[in-house]
């Protein structure tokens, strides 16, 4: 394998007279913890290593996607725009990437153009220099307004084609999509995104060259995941067969459900005869920090997976799988996971094999859970499923089984109209409602409601994995009242009783 791949690279170098450089894109702050920690890495966890990542030589650093917005606001009480700003202050030379998920914002409901455009504008204003744009239906009308804004603001645009192991999604399908996004938007980079880790080595060897040939001098990126253990090999072969850049995560937040390891991919790419401009020593430092952080938080690191061919059937993405497991556990039906996974495969095919990327894994999974819980399949139809079938998210990739369509329309909520409504602008009403708020606040309040946004806590850059006790005491000192503080942890007991007369 090594000698064969080396000979391919050497032949290319001899043919072109130039040694190719493969760039790495870091997604430790975006995808890695989305896959491994249910997106629970806090902004303050990122800040101590932001400068090192900036100096590591990545082509770009993926900062935030909408999943990160949701988790940041809903679970971490953090302002996602603040995350972008704080990262931008520390990451000054590497472009920060933000992801745009179709025309969706919070939840799965398509949003009107004006608010999507403002969102892109504000992401750029806070420090995003490159937009990774994704539409799982490959319905480019959905993302056209956002892309136009990004380009007007001088940001780079990458469009993700989402890999799908399903009938109709052949190499020609992806070539057509790539040509369309280049013709329509003159994008800078085309990305083959394999959210479920279901791209095989064999398919990489036909699909990557086909895309390479189709996109001329535009850049080609590959994103894959390591659920079936072949992720790193797919990434390396993609580089050999024409990809310019690979998305990675810093080990130990690589592998398992996550991305290939930056350190390992860099080493292997160099061994193949490519140049890779990342600083391995800095990556190891960042990796040490992440290992300590995981231990501190009690979160898992990425554990290399065992090869499992069944994943080529369900194609359930890493982050989605972690979320599904958590949801079933919360509902007290964790033991039904295998049945739900099996049902996901069936439902997906019945619904026309949508790409298993946000929001469709959740839509398919919601129906699968209902089918498992209620016995009679499609007797309970979640609203999102009916909307999907009715084309609320755009034209469907493949026709839906007619019988299933009837059941979805018949059993779905009457409140969901069969013809999708036109989406009226929302900004005028928002602006009059939030006269004194910044556009960032306006967007956040629109997405998550006032109560949630009022409760957001500013990030303090005091976090360190080295000084957790010091940090604990510092945190206690910042509390407005010290009455009745009692903390018990393994090996530590701490009590503080404020003097009588202190405020509560």
């Amino acid at each position: 394998m090594l000698s064969h791949l080396r000979s391919l690279v050497a032949a290319e170098t001899a043919r072109t007279g130039r040694r190719r450089t493969i760039d790495l894109v870091d997604s430790t702050f975006r995808d890695a913890h989305q896959c491994l920690w249910a997106t629970r890495m806090r902004t303050e966890h990122m800040l101590p290593i932001a400068k090192q990542l900036d100096d590591s030589g990545f082509h770009s650093i993926d900062a935030l996607a909408l999943v990160g917005f949701d988790a940041g606001v809903l679970f971490l009480n953090e302002d996602p725009f603040e995350r972008v700003r704080l990262l931008r202050e520390r990451i000054t030379s590497t472009p920060l990437r933000g992801a745009i998920r179709s025309n969706l914002m919070r939840s799965f409901f398509p949003q009107p153009d004006d608010v999507n455009e403002l969102f892109v504008e504000r992401m750029a204003a806070n420090g995003i220099r490159e937009f990774g744009v994704l539409d799982s239906l490959h319905c480019w009308d959905n993302v056209a307004p956002g892309i136009r804004v990004a380009k007007r603001l001088g940001a780079k645009v990458l469009v993700g084609l989402v890999f799908n192991l399903a009938p109709g999604y052949d190499d020609d399908f992806y070539v057509r999509q790539a040509r369309e996004v280049i013709d329509r938007f003159d994008v800078d980079t085309v990305c083959l995104g394999d959210a479920g880790g279901s791209l095989t080595v064999e398919r990489t060897r036909t699909l990557v060259p086909a895309l390479r040939a189709a996109i001329g001098d535009k850049r080609l990126e590959l994103i894959t995941h390591c659920l079936t253990a072949t992720g790193p090999q797919v990434a390396l072969e993609a580089a050999v067969y024409g990809a310019d850049q690979i998305m990675t995560a810093v080990d130990p937040l690589a592998n398992g459900n996550s991305l290939p390891s930056a350190q390992s991919i860099a080493r292997d790419l160099r061994a193949l005869g490519f140049d890779v401009n990342v600083e391995d020593r800095l990556l190891d430092d960042v990796g040490d920090y992440l290992g300590k952080l995981a231990a501190d938080l009690g979160y898992p690191v990425g554990v290399p997976a065992e090869f499992d061919p069944s994943l080529y059937q369900t194609q359930y993405a890493g982050g989605a799988m972690t979320n599904l497991e958590a949801q079933l556990k919360q509902a007290g039906i964790a033991d039904r996971l295998p049945a739900v996974i099996e049902e996901i495969g069936r439902v997906r095919e019945e619904l026309g094999s949508p790409v298993m990327a946000t929001p469709f894994p959740a839509i398919v999974a919601a129906q699968a859970v209902m089918n498992v819980l209620h016995g009679e399949r499609y007797s309970v139809v979640p609203d999102e499923v009916k909307k999907y079938v009715c084309g609320y998210y755009g034209d469907l990739p493949l026709p839906i089984d007619a019988d299933i369509k009837d059941r979805v329309l018949g059993n779905g909520s009457r409140d969901v109209a069969e013809t999708p409504p036109t989406l009226d602008p929302v900004l005028p009403a928002l602006r009059s409602r939030y006269r004194n708020q910044s556009d960032d606040q306006l967007l956040l309040r629109y997405m998550y409601g006032d109560e949630k946004i009022d409760g957001l806590v500013p990030v303090e850059d005091t976090f360190s994995v080295q000084q957790s006790i010091v940090e604990l005491v510092a945190g206690l000192a910042r509390m407005p009242s010290k009455r009745r503080v009692r903390l018990v942890a393994p090996g530590v007991e701490f009590r503080a009783n404020g003097r009588a007369g202190d405020h509560d």
């Binding site: 394998m1 090594l2 253990a229 390396l236 390891s261 065992e306 061919p309």
Partner: protein, 477 residues
Amino acid sequence: MTTYKLAFTDTSLTDGQTAVWGGALDTSMMLAPAARLSVSGLAAIEILSPAVLDACLARGENPLHRLELARRHFGAVPLRATVNLLTGHGRPGADVLGPEVIDRWLATLAGAGLQQVVLLDPLLDADRLHAALKSASAAGLVAIAALPYQADNDRPDEAYAQLAASLAASGAARVMLRDESGVLTPDRLRTLVPALVQALGTTPLDLHTRCHTALGTAVALEAAGLGVSGFDTALPCLANGASLPSLPSLLRGLRQQVTMQELPDHGSLLEADAILAAIADQEGFPQAASWAFDLAAYAHELPGEVAVDFLAALRDRGRWAELHEFAAECAAVRREMGSPPMVAPFARAIAEQAISHFDGDARYESLRPVLRRLLQGAYGTVDGELRADLRRRVGVLPAAEPAVTDVDGPEALLAWIAGVETSALPPRTPRTGAGSFGYETLTPYESLVRGLVTRAGRFAVLSLQGPGVRVHLQQEA
């Protein structure tokens, strides 16, 4: 879907535990899963390997006794051993298991209850193998001839096919494509296996691969579709990484692609696995883990536990980022030693030599003993070119060699093969009797108390408090 009848041999108790537990599975632990394993529908269970033999002796256990006990506990399932025709200990005259020694040794193993033997001659010396295969048949053993696979200096399919055919012609009942370094790929198999199957005709082809690059299971699945009929596997808690593919995982994958007859029983396998996992838990042995795909494996080709040891050594040195440099040095040393296959006794010696260079020693300033003897021709002829200056430096083998006719009786044979004195061998039948060979399962509390009591003599007062437990031990005045 094609219907296949596939044979699975469990190697958890040999290569699996050598790779994952560092060879720590003692005889009582080996017997613990016997009742479950013996009814799980396996084609064979491997009980002895060169590494197990050494580990037994180091622990004060007699490997022949281990085999006899296994014969009594593992029911009707055939027991297998892997025998390497080369030794690594370097006792003068005992580098090679020649015709007389192998004949007596195989008869001894058969007498102790063995039914199958994998004969591994790393240098594929035709005369040695022919004699060994003949002896195996004479001893009533199913003789499986190993055909080592190497990624570097890969032979063309025809060369492998020719070797396989000659092994079958020499009397091998089965031929095993043996990939101890886990460097086979599905791609490579697609031409190699059909060529081997065709060359072998009615002689079945077995596969022994590892999971160094995480592709072991994928390789085995591919092989099943191409005509390989026997697989070495391990139970999940002793599989993956430098070990073999996990049998339950392999079966899951196989069910998707083929219809199999007489499947091993999933439930019994998992019960056996649970017993071994509980032992690991009680003893603090490492958990099995998959390794991430890495191209360096195709350069260093370190097999099994050698990979475990030397990759750990690299991490310990804080030089993990230089993995490819180390791998390249392993490959260079191997090339300069005539490119022997990366199996015992060469692989560890090559890795040791490479890491001394990697650590900054002048290249070949000192020379590992096995490599010295390799250069001297003690093991036979290698395929590649030996470095001429090193050959001159080491000269030829000393003339005087002890005669093997002196090696008589099972104990003397065992001592000769292991490179120890007969007097140093543990007794074949322990005084305490076989009854003491049951593995004792302890609750965590019992383990704790036992550990404390063992150490209590060293302390005046030993006191321990934890959630729900309070132990206080005090020496009497």
